[in-house]
Symmetry: C2
Subunit: 365 residues, 2 copies
């Protein structure tokens, strides 16, 4: 549990907020605070620990040698959003990384996860990446999720405890309950850097995001490594809303891209340069077009809900989630087994700035 | 003069610092504070006002219509650093934009400016862009300055006064004292947008930075406009030291570039994309190479001084100017009429980060 002293201190420093989801009330750590990660959530008698940060390596050959002493498990890193799924008073919930109960993900848990796992192990917290073209948060999607969303379990935690179940225990539970998992590529030794590079080359060609490496040892050391495809794709997908993201989102990805290419001796040539330039500019051109023709810069999202109420509740949640984004519902219609919610996110920074400068306004920068 | 009340207030809020240049002591505004611009400097009985911010327009066709009622003067914007030159107690000094007396620029004033102008008008403050391959601050240089530096006057202010001399008065003084000036393209009416676009197209092809437009009216309204060449070049020149600049340096330039291309219907094609990608990545590749082979990321600078003492003094100034840059002298030798100072700037952020990650270190971001 979280010590009372620390809790008081966090409250005083404004690092905790009280939240509600229907009748469910809970406390949420809005930032990292001492040893408590952001997104840690406290119900009356239960703590769901936040998902910890994982360090990133930029080059495999030196990175593996530096980071690992023992063999490590290799898993796909799926490009979606991270949730923690658990049972509380007979109900199942999904928490976002930041610690909000997400009405959308919660609505869809039963479509992907057999709840039997919680009957046998009520204290488990399943760490799952949710990804696909019809998710409400991330504009990217793995190429192999063709519609709707999919769940990809990558870790299992327990209530009131920091840290993860051991890897083999996780595998056993995945198999026993037939849980959807990220792709697992098995155990590599630190000497197998060349094999790992081959794997990454394939993942890059298959347009996947990268890998997470988890040492097969007591200390459970982890690092992640991202493909150049994913770095380019992050830029391509977000450049439409460039002013909505912290600017170092881009410089970080440029640096990762350069280091990936540098290590792999990849095509330092026209094609790479052209792809990068295109990734930055095409989104900006599209944003200019939208601002001129429609007076706003936006993206349309579409998600499938089982429950109409939860769709409406989710819309309220997301409307209050960001000050830089205006969310407008476009439609909510029943189609076969689903309520299809369509909404647009209007990117206010881009809309405002482009409206101003396309109209001839000046800016002091 | 600056009101006493405001001065006290600024001191209390830490917006003023006391500086010395040899025996000369002065106060310097470190930030904008109320109506006082950053870089404003106070000697005992004299105020040299800071050079004010000028707004930027992103598109000419709408920008001209929106910003100007009357005809406006068009001048080249030269890519260098901005200084204010004046006489104080018989000595001539150059202040940087931030309000430091610059030992380098001060050393070279007589090579470019006839001091007769101050004999006749001791209260003038000449606003000058200093540019060229052998300047100690800016790694870019206009294509037509082939060696050393050159001075380009663009405005004249007066001691103890805000605002500029009228344009025609400035022209008269430039001609009378044969002062070096930025290129002046004459008076344009707001209806002459197409002519202005033609001019900008030429400047872009000639690899110049852009223009400053100054309304021929009492209010002396000004805006600036930058070529796509200059935006690309800024990226190309600085990407080696990407972590040494605020990340929005890059997103701002991307946005300007997109708006320039969008308005001019320029080649939205492979070549532009390739140039942009190259501008970002080649510097980063070079930085990786340097970090691997030499253990540091750096650039070498070279400047010509008349006085050896001022060269040494300048070196001390620049050593204390930034916490993210380490300055090392490489040589200081007399060659004909000049003392040639060579020094390197080691970019500590890039050196540190690349050393860490190339060695296999991980980063939480």
């Amino acid at each position: 549990m979280v010590p009372q002293e620390l809790l008081k201190d966090a409250l005083k420093k404004n690092k905790i907020r009280s939240e509600a989801y229907g009748d469910l009330e809970y406390l949420r750590f809005t930032d990292d605070f001492k040893e408590i990660p952001r997104g840690t959530v406290i119900f009356k008698d239960t703590v769901i620990w936040g998902y910890p940060h994982i360090g990133r390596i930029f080059q495999l050959s030196t990175g593996i040698k530096e980071q690992f002493k023992d063999p490590f498990w290799v898993e796909e890193k799926v490009d979606g959003y991270n949730v923690r799924i658990f049972i509380h008073k007979g109900e199942v919930y999904a928490l976002t990384r930041g610690g909000y109960v997400c009405a959308f993900t919660t609505d869809r848990i039963r479509d992907f996860i057999s709840l039997e796992v919680f009957e046998e192990y009520p204290d488990l917290v399943l760490c799952v990446e949710v990804a696909g073209p019809e998710n409400p948060y991330v504009e990217e999607s793995p190429p192999y999720v063709k519609e709707d969303i999919a769940f990809f379990l990558f870790d299992i935690m327990q209530k009131n405890r920091q840290g993860f179940l051991p890897y083999r225990e996780k595998q056993r539970i995945i198999e026993k309950f037939n849980l959807p998992s990220v792709e697992r590529y098995g155990l590599y030794t630190p000497a197998q850097v060349e094999d790992l590079k081959k794997l990454l080359k394939r993942l890059n060609e298959e347009k996947r995001e990268g890998v997470v490496l988890k040492e097969d040892s007591e200390r459970d050391k982890r690092v992640k490594y991202i493909t150049s495809y994913a770095n380019l794709n992050d830029i391509r997908i977000t450049s439409l809303n460039m002013l909505g993201l912290p600017a170092d989102y881009y410089t970080n990805r440029l640096l990762r891209l350069a280091l990936f290419v540098e290590e792999e001796k990849l095509n330092k040539e026209e094609k790479l340069y052209e792809e990068l330039g295109k990734a930055f500019l095409e989104g900006l051109f599209e944003a200019c077009d939208m601002a001129k023709k429609e007076g706003k810069v936006y993206r349309v999202f579409r998600c499938r809900f089982r429950s109409k109420d939860r769709a409406l509740f989710f819309l309220e949640q997301i409307k209050h989630a960001s000050t830089h984004i205006q969310v407008n519902m476009l439609s909510l219609d029943k189609k076969r087994d689903f309520w299809i919610l369509e909404f647009e996110k209007v990117f206010l920074n881009m809309t405002g700035l482009l409206g101003h400068v396309l109209g001839g306004g000046s800016i002091i920068d």
